[in-house]
Every structure is written in structure tokens, then in C-alpha cells.
């Protein structure tokens, strides 16, 4: 009995170690293929990777940048992971982020919230979360009650959100005092405090860490999280135990949208201070990568978010230093996830008892 438990623990530990080492291998393999692209540029890959992978950790400014970039990634990643636990693929992070940013701007630039300071921040974040939740909820509702695939509806909602933002910042929400297509800026007493001077890192990272904790508690310690996981693992099992799968699809997408909306809100309070086009481009997709690479595990999401944000930060340094385009990061992200997926299908051979007689 005890021996059985022991071997089970070893088994779990082994699978975790196996997956972890596979991710490391996938990163290395992707970097190797990436070096071919760098060579095409006529730059030495070693030199470029030194700028990309080492340089970001050498100055406080770029470390701050890593933290600033990781903040929304963690939050979006948590949202995607929530939905993924309930068997929904949330590809709509981008649109939900934009909607969150929009909700925040609408509230915080309105006359009666303008000068509220900290209360304004809270109201703005609530509004952003609500807007994101609605945007995610649309896809969730369509999936749960109209059976339309969330893969496509979330993608459509992304484009719709991008165009809505484009229209608003050129039209109704455009700052009357300026000529650039951007909204009015939020009051300076509503900016999130900086972590340390000389970088863009802000205290939003603590909200992100709280989100991870929230994710872990809800998923592992509550009935809701348990039911969500049951739906994700087997819809049949969920149905037999009386869990309404469609309501959990809906809830999962609402939560995913809410987190992405919160991330958009924090981008406004911490980094952008206004609404502009392309303000969150890439965060939604990278958030998906973060959740996948983090294997939906709270710590995994944190580590994956830091990895992705340092890659992006490093790529910017590399582009300035040696002219290698930052889009190298998209190539690496895509390759890393594809390699990780490939490696997970490699299963260890198990001894199978062969039954010679009788039925199965």
C-alpha cells in the first residue's frame, strides 16, 4: 500500500520533471532554428542572442521593463488558463484587453471620477474587468447556448474590438485638445505608483501575483474550481455528476474575459495612461502562449510570463543593437509551443499485461 503511494508520487514527480525538461529542450531547439533566421540577416547568432537573452538582465531599466511587460501577460495567462480548465480555448484575449482598456478610460475620464484618485483606480479597474467579462461572455454565451465554436467567435470579437477602438480614438473619444488619434489622458493622481525610478515597472505586478494566488485557490480549493476541472477533463463525467457543462463554459469564458479586461485596465493605469490604437497588440496572443507553456499551473504561468516578457524586452534591445527585427519573437514563441506540444505526445512505454483469453 505504502509502496504503491510512493511509486505514484515518483510517477507524478517524474512526469513533471519530464515536462519541465521538455520545455527547456523546446526553448533551446527554437533558439537554434531562430539562429538560422538571424544568420539570414547577416548577424552572428551568438552576438544577437547575447543581446537578447543576457542583456535584459543587466540593467535595472530593462529588468523593470521585464516586470512591466510580464504584468499583463500573467493576468491574461491566468484568464486563458481558467477557460482552458473548463475546456474553452480563449483566443480572444486581444479583444478583451482592448475592451477592458476602453471601460477603464470611459469611467476614469468622466467628470465625476476624474479627481477621485485611488477610488477612481478601483472604479476604473472594476469597469475594465466588467467590459472584458462582457466581451468574453459573449463568446461564452454563444458557445454554451448556441453551440458556436468559441475558437472562431473569439477571433471575430478580436477584430470587432480593434475596429471599435480605432473608431473611438479617431472619433467620439478623441482628445479634443490634441491632434493624435488617442483618448484623453487619465489624471496623474490615478497613475499606478512606480516600483523603482527609471523604469516602467509599476505596482500592478502585485495585482498580477494576487491573480495567480486567486487562480490557485479557486481551482484547487473551491467547489467551483473542482467542477470547472471536471468539465474540462470529461464532459460526460460532468453530466453524470449533475454539473451543467454549458453554464461552466459560459462562466469560464466570463472569467477569462474578466482577467483580460483587468489586464487592459492595468495597462492603462500603469503604462499607457490613455487609449490608443495598437496599445495591447500581441499581449492577448502571448498570454495564450504563457498559459500553454505554463501548463495551466500557477507557478508555470508566472515563469512562462517572465520568460516571454524577457524575450520581448531582449528582442527590442537586439533590434536596436544589431538590427534583427523584433518579429523574431513571434517565430520563437510559435516554435516553442509547437515543439512542446510535439514532445508531450512522446509517452513512456508502459508495461501492458497481455490477456490471452476471454474478452477485453
Amino acid at each position: 500500500m505504502i509502496k504503491g503511494i510512493k511509486s505514484k508520487i515518483n510517477e507524478e514527480l517524474f512526469t513533471k520533471l519530464f515536462k519541465f525538461s521538455m520545455i527547456i529542450l523546446a526553448v533551446i531547439a527554437a533558439l537554434l532554428i531562430g539562429s538560422v533566421f538571424i544568420l539570414a540577416m547577416g548577424v552572428s547568432p551568438l552576438e544577437a542572442y547575447k543581446q537578447m537573452l543576457v542583456q535584459p538582465f543587466l540593467s535595472t531599466q530593462s529588468i523593470g521593463e521585464i516586470i512591466a511587460k510580464a504584468t499583463p501577460l500573467i493576468i491574461v495567462g491566468v484568464g486563458v488558463a481558467f477557460a482552458a480548465n473548463g475546456a474553452c480555448n480563449n483566443l480572444g484575449g486581444e479583444g478583451q484587453l482592448y475592451m477592458g482598456a476602453l471601460g477603464t478610460i470611459i469611467i476614469t475620464t468622466s467628470d465625476w471620477v476624474k479627481n477621485l484618485g485611488i477610488v477612481g483606480i478601483i472604479l476604473g479597474m472594476l469597469a475594465g474587468t466588467l467590459f472584458g467579462a462582457i466581451w468574453g461572455g459573449i463568446a461564452g454565451y454563444f458557445k454554451a447556448y448556441f453551440k458556436s465554436s468559441e475558437l472562431i467567435t473569439t477571433l471575430m470579437l478580436n477584430y470587432i474590438a480593434v475596429y471599435i477602438i480605432g473608431w473611438l480614438v479617431h472619433g467620439p473619444l478623441m482628445d479634443s485638445g490634441g491632434i493624435n488619434p488617442q483618448s484623453e489622458k487619465i489624471a496623474s493622481n490615478m497613475h499606478l505608483a512606480k516600483l523603482f525610478t527609471g523604469s516602467r515597472a509599476h505596482i500592478g505586478i502585485f495585482i498580477a501575483l494576487a491573480c495567480i494566488l486567486f487562480y490557485w485557490i479557486v481551482l484547487k480549493k473551491t467547489r467551483f474550481g473542482y467542477n470547472l476541472r471536471v468539465v474540462g477533463i470529461s464532459t460526460k463525467a460532468a453530466m453524470y455528476s449533475g454539473i451543467s457543462t454549458s453554464s461552466y463554459y459560459f462562466k469560464g469564458m466570463v472569467i477569462a474575459g474578466a482577467f483580460a479586461g483587468l489586464a487592459g485596465s492595468i495597462e492603462v493605469f500603469g503604462v499607457q495612461f490613455k487609449l490608443i490604437e495598437n496599445m495591447v497588440s500581441g499581449i492577448g496572443i502571448t498570454g495564450m502562449v504563457v498559459a500553454l507553456l505554463g501548463l495551466l499551473h500557477p507557478m508555470g504561468i508566472l515563469v512562462a510570463a517572465i520568460l516571454m516578457s524577457s524575450l520581448t524586452t531582449g528582442a527590442e534591445i537586439m533590434q536596436v543593437a544589431s538590427g534583427v527585427p523584433t518579429t523574431l519573437v513571434s517565430i520563437l514563441q510559435g516554435l516553442i509551443v509547437l515543439f512542446v506540444l510535439c514532445s508531450f505526445s512522446i509517452k513512456r512505454k508502459k508495461k501492458v499485461k497481455v490477456i490471452h483469453e476471454g474478452g477485453v
Binding site: 454563444f142 479617431h170 509547437l338
Partner: protein, 310 residues
């Protein structure tokens, strides 16, 4: 505004805007009928469009460019086939990551070859071919029979593929994989091989769609030239009941909306152009929500298939 010239021009443009959605939609219909989902259409379109540009630039021949564009789509889709079919990983995630990879590769190589801000090289546009007799029919003639070769090919392929899928044994085999792959396998059909084939075919079609964007619509390559058309094709595939022939209707619907918003923009109607650009996506979203419910699609789309499982 609503005179004959306007309507003719609008419908001609609609047909042209139909083509880059129709190609990938046909391919996707075949792939999903065989039980696999190729979300990577968008990326394969980008690769097709890009390869067409570089082939034209080095050979000066559009025909070779188009063919290689299609082949590049097919070859790159093998990544999706390998991870999604042979390695049995969730096809939605695989396709999405493939899109990210393809967008990265095309824009990276584009910047490497032509510089980040430099003026992009133009591509010779494909010539319209007037079909004798038919093109002299009033109204319908100029709309339908003064298009280019790739446009005719798209419509011919829609019917040809529809014929193969619904009237031949091979088509039945493909469709059987979408309904019950294990039963198909027991009849001696090689599930994995046919699914590789259908994904490669959808990649080829997406590549052709991308090539048409370069030579038929824009006349050059831009980063993110496909602008969501691959995703619209996914919606068309579902809305048109996974049927290549019906896809013509759906693709034309989106082509029309697209052409219509371009005309309105050109006319300077007081509607913000972003709201017009949004129309196809809103249409697809509502269509999926309210028509998608009664669609009985292939049963096993996207499901993991294990050869030796139960």
C-alpha cells in the same frame, strides 16, 4: 449613386473580394469533413502571399509565383498536420500557434529582404481574361466573365471539389473520416494519410488565396496582408455547412460586404470606415451564433484520433 455603373463595379469588386476567402474555405471544408481542423489558414495565406512576391521578384513570372505560393501553403501546412494529426495534439492550439509563427516568419523575412520602412516592391497584377460570347451578355457578362484566371479557377474548383466530395468513392472515404474514423479504418482506409492529404490540400488552397491577395488585389505584399480572411474562411466553412459548393455563397456574402465598405469609403459616406471594416466580422459572429446552432457538422472535427485506442 445607385446607377448601373456603380452596381456593376460593386459586383465585379465583390467577386474579386470573394476569391481570397473562397479558396481557403474550400480547403477547410475538405479538411473538416475529414475530421481535422486547420486553424492555420491565416498563416498559410500569409506564407502563400509572401512566397508569390519573392518568386515574382526573382523570376518575373506571376504564374510561377502563384503556383509556388500555393505549394508553400501546402508545405507549411505539414507542420499543422505533423503536430495536429501524427502527434495528436489539440488542432486548435496547433493552428493558432502556426499562425503566430507564420506571421513572424513572413514579416521577419520581409523586413530582412526589403527593409523595415522601405517602399515595398510591387507585383504585376494578374490580367483579366474576357471569355468570348459570355462576356458580351449585358450586366452579367462584365461582372462574371471579365475576371482573371485565378477567379475562374476558384469557382471551378469549388464545383470540382464538391463533385469529388459528394459523388465519388474517394470523397465518401474522406467524409467517413469525419464521422467515424475507426469504422473507416476498419474498412482499410489509412486515416492518418488521408488527413495529412486534406490538411495539405487546405494549405495549398490557402496559399493560392494568399497568392491572389498579392497578385489580384493589393499588387504587393504587406505585413498581415491576409487581415483575418483566413478566419473568415473558417466561419464560411461552418456557415455553409462544410460544403465547398455552398461556400461560394458564404464567401460571396463576405466579399460583397467587403467591396461595399470599400465603395462607401471611396464615396466618403459619413460613416466611420472602421465601423464598415467591422461589418464582415459582425456578420460572421451573428451568423455563427444564430445559424450555427442547427448545423450538423462532421462529428469528430478536432478530436484526438488514436490508432490503437478504443
Amino acid at each position: 449613386m445607385l446607377n448601373m455603373t456603380f452596381i456593376t463595379a460593386l459586383l465585379t469588386a465583390s467577386i474579386r473580394m470573394t476569391v481570397p476567402i473562397l479558396y481557403p474555405a474550400i480547403g477547410e471544408a475538405v479538411a473538416e469533413r475529414s475530421g481535422v481542423m486547420n486553424i492555420g489558414l491565416e498563416g498559410q495565406m500569409l506564407i502563400g502571399a509572401f512566397v508569390t512576391l519573392i518568386t515574382y521578384n526573382s523570376t518575373g513570372n506571376i504564374a510561377i509565383g502563384i503556383i509556388l505560393g500555393g505549394l508553400a501553403g501546402a508545405i507549411s501546412s505539414c507542420i499543422v498536420a505533423f503536430v495536429g494529426v501524427s502527434r495528436n495534439q489539440p488542432q486548435a492550439v496547433v493552428g493558432f500557434m502556426f499562425n503566430l509563427f507564420a506571421a513572424g516568419v513572413t514579416s521577419y523575412l520581409y523586413r530582412v529582404l526589403y527593409g523595415a520602412s522601405g517602399v515595398s516592391p510591387t507585383v504585376e497584377m494578374i490580367n483579366p481574361i474576357k471569355i468570348p460570347l459570355l462576356s458580351s451578355i449585358p450586366i452579367v457578362g462584365p461582372i462574371l466573365f471579365e475576371q482573371d484566371m485565378l477567379t475562374y479557377l476558384a469557382f471551378i474548383l469549388a464545383f470540382a471539389v464538391g463533385f469529388v466530395m459528394y459523388k465519388t468513392k474517394f470523397g465518401l472515404q474522406i467524409r467517413s473520416l469525419g464521422e467515424n474514423p475507426r469504422a473507416a479504418q476498419s474498412c482499410g482506409i489509412n486515416v492518418i494519410r488521408i488527413r495529412w492529404g486534406t490538411i495539405a490540400f487546405s494549405g495549398f488552397m490557402a496559399g493560392l488565396g494568399g497568392a491572389f491577395l498579392t497578385v489580384g488585389i493589393v499588387g504587393r505584399f504587406m505585413e498581415n496582408i491576409s487581415a483575418g480572411r483566413g478566419f473568415l474562411a473558417l466561419a464560411v466553412c461552418i456557415l455553409c455547412h462544410w460544403n465547398p459548393v455552398y461556400s461560394i455563397i458564404g464567401a460571396f456574402g463576405f466579399g460583397f460586404v467587403n467591396a461595399f465598405q470599400l465603395r462607401l469609403q471611396a464615396l466618403g459616406v459619413g460613416i466611420p470606415y472602421q465601423l464598415l471594416l467591422m461589418l464582415p466580422y459582425v456578420a460572421a459572429l451573428l451568423g455563427l451564433a444564430f445559424l450555427g446552432r442547427n448545423m450538423k457538422g462532421p462529428k469528430t472535427v478536432g478530436a484526438v484520433y488514436e490508432k490503437e485506442g478504443r
